[in-house]
């Protein structure tokens, strides 16, 4: 449960104790099934993508936005999003 508390904190989810217990049981079943990977010797380079991907970089140029970035926000103030207190 201590690990579950920590995971919920990292994941930004509020769960009740009953929910935490239920998810913890399911998660341990899934992680148990994942142990099949312990039986395979894999020293290959990790395949981060299924096909070869080239790095494509572009110039870091300032361009005007074609749409209103605040258009879907409910809480705004002039040209800014309103958000919760950080400090």
């Amino acid at each position: 449960m201590a690990t579950m508390e920590h995971i919920c904190l990292l994941a930004k989810l509020n769960l009740s104790d009953a929910e935490k217990e239920s998810y913890a049981r399911e998660l341990s079943d899934v992680l148990e099934a994942f142990k099949v990977l312990d039986s395979i010797d894999a020293k290959d380079e990790p395949a981060f993508h299924p096909i070869e991907i080239k790095d494509r970089l572009r110039e870091d140029e300032v361009k005007a936005t074609k749409w209103d970035p605040l258009g879907n926000a409910k809480a705004t103030d002039k040209k800014y999003f309103n958000g919760p207190r950080i400090i």
Partner: protein, 462 residues
């Protein structure tokens, strides 16, 4: 009304069909389909029909709701994105509109694509037109449902991460093409797992799916993982001879774990291909047994990272801002995500935590490298691999409700390896058992979609 896509486009081009009148009639029929089977999250009130010229002239196109459509709500099937109106089109939508396709609505899916049956839906569960007590398959269930139920010409834009086109195509008796990773731009797709997400198509016939795939394929500078492979007209492969082609059947895909009725239906397709001169032998993909674990580890790690951005501030679900950022974000995320999304976020967060990343995520990526090599070895021997699309017939909702998460994940056993390897596949409705559809999937090497269309179209021939 003409139900064939090919005939409809011809009829628009020669002026026999007036697009505005036709679309008005289609929208009425969409309402009827919706009331019976619920394939849509959003039905467009007044579809844009201006400029209905080109390869898709006046053709109704539905779009999975994880793909951004300018001015039309896009939710990815999640309450956390309720009310989000994208101010831009995904590249596949831009290309569809450019060729005269008419966007008629957004189709239902498991939240963010998290599911095999389209039952983890925040806005209603699509019902299988072959038996409304059964699921359509997921996660592109709305796309398969509408394609099967539509009594008008239509093709669906769908999306797959681990089998989300093949499963609904198999369960609804439609044709689904999952293209090679990078073949279709992901710009404007709401990510599930970036290294595996692929936008593809579902149609009633092979030609229909091939046509729309041709339009949406091609390099896009807006997607850094988009392939520079030249776009092709995949319809040009329809009907081409397959005499002398070599196909392998991976024995792991027709093992006792696959329903015997499904295997029997699949074998009828094998006989048909053999009668056309194809050489078919058994082969083996021994790494299949590792595909569920490695796929889900990569998927949950990437998904939990992608879902970190939903915090109830800039779009989608927003609440009264109270408390500090920790309190507010957690409150919105807890209210907005459904059960399966929460489960995958928790699992993915754990798998990426310090001390576990090497043991889980990196190990899974190394196994993926092995799986890709295994497929590549097979494609040196065979033109394609063929197998049942799904291990079971479309299940009842009451049966799905009894499955544990791991039993649920096990249902993806026939589609995960190919999706992880980023190879293309085509699911074809090969027949029925107990009145329910059975899918045969054809898997090919990277960028061999043309060959898959060729083989699929021969299965379709009378």
């Amino acid at each position: 009304m003409e139900a064939s896509v090919r005939a409809h486009i011809e009829s628009v081009k020669n002026g026999e069909t007036k697009v505005d009148e036709f679309i008005a009639e289609v929208m009425e029929r969409c309402q009827k389909v919706q009331s019976k089977y619920s394939p849509f999250i959003t039905i467009v009130k007044k579809p844009e029909t201006r400029g209905a010229r080109g390869a898709l002239a006046g053709l109704p196109i539905s779009v999975k709701d994880s793909i951004c459509t300018s001015g039309i709500q896009t939710t990815a099937g999640s309450k956390i994105l309720e009310g989000y109106i994208p101010p831009f089109d995904a590249t596949c939508i831009t290309n569809t509109k450019k060729e005269g396709g008419v966007i008629i609505g957004k189709t239902a899916l498991d939240e963010f694509g998290f599911g095999t049956f389209s039952t983890n839906c925040a806005y209603g569960v699509p019902k299988n037109p072959h038996d409304p007590e059964r699921a359509c398959g997921g996660s592109s269930g709305g796309a398969g449902c509408l394609t099967a139920a539509a009594d008008f010409p239509h093709v669906a834009i769908a999306q797959s991460t681990g089998g989300s086109i093949t499963a609904p195509a198999a369960f609804t008796g439609t044709v689904g093409i999952t293209p090679t990773y990078g073949r279709v731009s992901r710009y404007g797709l709401i990510d599930y797992a970036n290294s595996m997400d692929k936008i593809g198509v579902i149609g009633k016939e092979v030609y229909d799916a091939a046509l729309l795939l041709s339009v949406i394929s091609g390099y896009d500078p807006l997607d850094s993982t988009s392939s520079e492979q030249k776009a092709e007209n995949f319809t040009s492969y329809v009907g081409k001879d397959i005499n002398g082609m070599k196909f392998g059947i991976p024995k792991e895909y027709v093992s006792d774990a696959t329903d015997r009725k499904v295997v029997a239906g699949f074998m009828k397709g094998v006989e048909k291909l053999e009668s056309m001169g194809a050489k078919i032998t058994e082969t083996s993909l021994p790494l299949t047994k590792y595909s569920i674990s490695s796929y889900y580890l990569i998927a949950i790690a990437e998904a939990s990272t992608n879902l970190a951005k939903y915090c109830g501030l800039r779009y989608g679900m927003q609440q009264k801002i109270e408390g500090d950022f920790e309190t507010y974000f957690s409150k919105v995320r807890t209210a907005g995500f459904g059960n399966e999304a929460k489960r995958r976020i928790l699992l993915g967060t754990y798998a990426r935590m310090a001390g576990y990343r090497d043991a889980y995520y990196l190990k899974a990526l190394r196994v993926r490298a092995k799986i890709i090599k295994e497929f590549k070895g097979e494609f040196r021997k065979f033109d394609a691999l063929i197998a049942p699309s799904m291990p079971i017939l479309p299940p009842k909702f009451s049966e799905i409700a009894k499955l544990t998460p791991i039993q649920n994940y096990n249902m993806d056993i026939l589609t995960l390896a190919s999706n992880m390897a980023g190879i293309p596949s085509l699911s074809f409705p090969i027949g029925k058992a107990d009145g329910l559809p059975i899918g045969l999937q054809i898997m090919g090497d990277h960028f061999s979609e043309g060959k898959l269309v060729q083989i699929g179209s021969k299965l379709e021939a009378k």
